[in-house]
Symmetry: C2
């Protein structure tokens, strides 16, 4: 069984290297030869561990996005009741600073998922997991503040999710052109966003 473990470790290693390559050059411009060269292995190895390029990419998505979501869930769900948005801001800020290119890759793959059905499935799974995270926070918020939403919960979740996701997307686009001060304003701007979302009549509790 030690051999089996070793094989899985190598598989994980290749996924990690492929992730780095993909994050650097993007889906449209990366090749298996790039990944093999960067990993210090021969081309054939990739087909030995992954049936096809598509399978490798799917493994990449679930690997790195899984790690990110675990951190997100851990940090955000552990935050004190009312201020989970602050915890969210902290995690996102750190992640955007350190793993900027991975976030770029995430949007790249989301777009590819609109063209390639196989990616669509994977993206769908991840998005619904993120929706669930928001849902849990929303439920907790209502319980602890003894309040209810004025619109149905699914609408609220979609709204919050799309606002946050769109905000990150715009941040990445901005940061591309002026890398220096974009991250500086991020936390403050994100606070504005959360405030705008939750101080509105639609989303905030009925009884304040």
């Amino acid at each position: 069984m030690t051999t089996h473990k070793k094989a899985e470790a190598k598989r994980a290693f290749l996924i990690e290297q492929a992730t780095a390559c993909l994050a650097e050059k993007g889906y449209a411009h990366v090749s298996l030869r790039d990944i093999a060269k960067e990993s210090g292995v021969s081309l054939g190895i990739l087909h030995y561990y992954f049936a096809s390029k598509e399978e490798l990419l799917l493994a990449v998505i679930s690997s790195y996005k899984g790690r990110f979501m675990e951190e997100l869930e851990r940090e955000v769900l552990a935050a004190p009741s009312g201020k989970w948005s602050a915890a969210l801001a902290r995690v996102l800020c750190r992640s955007l600073h350190e793993d900027r290119k991975l976030h770029r890759l995430w949007y790249d793959l989301q777009v590819q998922a609109m063209y390639v059905p196989a990616f669509g499935e994977q993206v769908k799974v991840i998005r619904s997991r993120l929706h669930q995270l928001i849902s849990r926070m929303l439920v907790r918020l209502q319980r602890e503040e003894q309040s209810t939403l004025t619109i149905d919960e699914n609408s609220a979740i979609s709204l919050i999710y799309s606002a946050i996701d769109g905000f990150l997307f715009q941040f990445l686009l901005d940061e591309l052109q002026k890398p220096e001060d974009a991250i500086a304003h991020f936390e403050q701007a994100f606070a504005h966003l959360m405030h705008a979302l939750f101080s509105s009549e639609s989303l905030s509790p009925e009884s304040r």
Copy 2:
């Protein structure tokens, strides 16, 4: 000069055909041969009218996005004072219904712009034009309602833009999986978004 006009007309025709091809297959999977075949011309023609594939793609972006933004500006700026968000919703709903694949292409090219600097310039121009549209509406809103924003204008514009853009992006992703009822809920959901944005304390006028 009639020859010059004819050449420009053909150029426009090729751009239009290329747009259709690109919208169908996406940036990563389209080739010049696809476009040539779909246009009913030979491969060499494309290099006769466009120096490179990149130049063709840039022409595609500014062409179709320019058309869309003209409609947007015309309809939204002509809307009665307070209810420009309704006009915006109407235009977006129609556009999402008819030109769904063009919107998908827009996100595709935005992502590519994060990797290819030449695209970045073009995307930047378009985004700033859309920002200006929001800015104009915001200024008009303040003047006609005799109010001021509680946060600086640029932050407000970025916030509104990213929220709307993120909303459209999520819509496209949703619609990919259940094409039937996604568009049905769009207008209502969009109304919720606008309400959430402008009934908040941050963005709404100080004096109601």
